[in-house]
Symmetry: C2
Amino acid sequence: MSKHAISGFPEWTPAERAVEMHVENTLARVFELHGFQNLRTRSVEPLSALEAKGETSKEVYLLQRLQSARESDEPIDLGPNTLGLHFDLTVPLARYVVANSGSLVFPFKRYQIQQVWRGERPQEGRFREFTQADIDVVGQDQLAFHHDIEVAETMLDALNALGIGDVLMEVNNRKLLSGLVAAVGASDFDGVLRALDKLDKIGEGGVREELSNLDLTDEQATKVIEFAAITATTGKQLDSKIAALGLELDAEGEEGLEELKTLLDSLAEFAPGQVKASLRIARGLDYYTGTVYETLLPGYENYGSICSGGRYDNLARAGRKTYPGVGLSVGVTRLVALILEAGLLQTERTSPAAVLVLVNNEEERGTSEGAARQLRSRGINAEVSPSSAKFGRQIRYADRKGIPYVCFVRGDEYSIKNIVSGEQVDGVDLSTWQPDESVSTTVSPGVDA
Amino acid sequence: MSKHAISGFPEWTPAERAVEMHVENTLARVFELHGFQNLRTRSVEPLSALEAKGETSKEVYLLQRLQSARESDEPIDLGPNTLGLHFDLTVPLARYVVANSGSLVFPFKRYQIQQVWRGERPQEGRFREFTQADIDVVGQDQLAFHHDIEVAETMLDALNALGIGDVLMEVNNRKLLSGLVAAVGASDFDGVLRALDKLDKIGEGGVREELSNLDLTDEQATKVIEFAAITATTGKQLDSKIAALGLELDAEGEEGLEELKTLLDSLAEFAPGQVKASLRIARGLDYYTGTVYETLLPGYENYGSICSGGRYDNLARAGRKTYPGVGLSVGVTRLVALILEAGLLQTERTSPAAVLVLVNNEEERGTSEGAARQLRSRGINAEVSPSSAKFGRQIRYADRKGIPYVCFVRGDEYSIKNIVSGEQVDGVDLSTWQPDESVSTTVSPGVDA
């Protein structure tokens, strides 16, 4: 992390940024492979839109023009049109879809990789500016269940392509949870979900206490904790574990169970061992109506979910039209922090250049530039040495920047040396020479990955 | 442009965004080809840093947490630590370089493609959020002149790679201008520069009036307007035109002239016809100390400069160390607006998918997904039809999204049809099939380019 930090506003060094770019570019490439279209929305929304979700409105940064602040001794206007920075990419998506519904083709499949801001109190040590990478499929009035499978498959493909080792997606279904809560005889569905969400933080005892505060009996609380403990990797396994609970599911619960079984068995086909139903996944603070997802890196569970989401049957609504959606969001900044701390990816280069063309003396700089131009015309990143000092010093510049090759120029004769291995090739033909594939990427898996 | 707009916060449609992504990705690729390393800085700086430049401080957006605004009836704090959104990428660069100088390798070559914000009054109709793409080379204590050539070459390569037609870079040198102003006998150098900057807006008469307000005589004003009218494409031509003025240059002026001639003749070698010295380029509002650049698209001069910059001998300073820099900045949002309005690039696709795999019925969806997976494994973007309605309706979905191919699946037999040309191939082998190169990109030159 770079120096001169402002708490909550992370800033990577060039080498760390190379890792972040690898993450962003890989996610984008795989999202496009699956036909998701990039969208970029403005960074601001009016306060009225930011507050529509209620709870999260605490974390908004409002904007005021410096000039207007200077000219006024009034506090900042809290009216509905005051602009604030968006705190997620879902609020802008919902607004965008409604405003542009006439020109979009539904189902609308979009991805967005953008910064979001949360006006957290500085002392909490959380990110106040970070990057999210979201995919969503949004329908008009209807959205088939197979899109719940599609977004999970797309995201697993994308996370697997990062080369950071194993990824585990935990899934659940709000309709199944609703059926289970009803079968237990509890009435406060949202309250039970919020209690379940705290399982990691407050443990089973704490959850029992919360449930008791919601007027659940000990017996009811035990049932809730029993079903929340269920995990399964196949539909069959899930069926038998739920049957063993001896609870009678209502129609909604049965529908949720069917969906969850379908999701599990479909994903198991092409991502074996990467998907698990876990009935404790509630995501109680969000407005999901069906499938919910969380994603962990096994071995790094303490970092929490790196990618979460779910189905909203009412992502947006306008007049008589509804816009159901299903999506997943990667916390890119948090994931990159994990990758860097755990050494899951490493960078050896702080320059994208594969070759540094050396300069004999300032009079011959043009010749070296010609050589670099020839390499670039073939897509090979090449830099010309900034100085014509002794070759030792020029090579040291390449070494410090992690540039793997240097090119010596003698008239129209070229020698290229791999400064890592020490291997040198003379009489190189610049119109055909290629760097080793192993040094053509700047980011490689860490020893732990 | 999308609907529900907030004045000054542009938001592209998916098709327009495809053009913007082409611009951003092409610029990034060419910057890396020349060895520039990506950097991303946080979006905020403390007010003290944003105000350091003086004049531009009018245009800052300050941030205040909604929660703190609710709890207070005080106006926003205008102290030095209050956070504001950055209005350019130069202030963050200068701060970053000083803070991290111990771990950077100089000359530090970085590019940054990020959003910036200007707290303009809404009625002015300017962009208040837009994307800039900057390249800079920053030295420690010294920075050789050949970097002035390097950034111009890199940027011309990048702009040429966009495929938007001809690009003209106009260059000048502040030291030459200083010498000319001194030779004319005027004392207020900054004032003369500011007057020259308005030549486009207020014409020759207006500039004369401004110069007269600066106490220049008619004769002096005429000389200023005469040298400002000089243009040249070679060093030799520049020499003779300046000699014809009959003004005696001081040492600084001679140095500037030598630099400008070197720049012109070096760039003419590999970008013939794309670079012109134009002595009216002043960039009076910025703190440049040598070379200055502006870039026009011939035929679209009324859009103004799409890419500007220059050399700062004091980009930053810390203790006894100085950090001279030279760089160029593309106004990406403005350039994309021009490209879209003038039709210089066009998109035919609002989906990155090259192939839509059709679905016979929901029971056979899995088979179609398998076909899509096979295409994706070979890097071909493929989407599965969201519905299993009649093929006509599925093909219409592809057509509306601009997806050029549809794939019919009959068991393990595949037919692929180009829905633009109508050409259909049966018995396709999905492990070798390739889309036509002409449809593999989503953005193509417009008819006018």
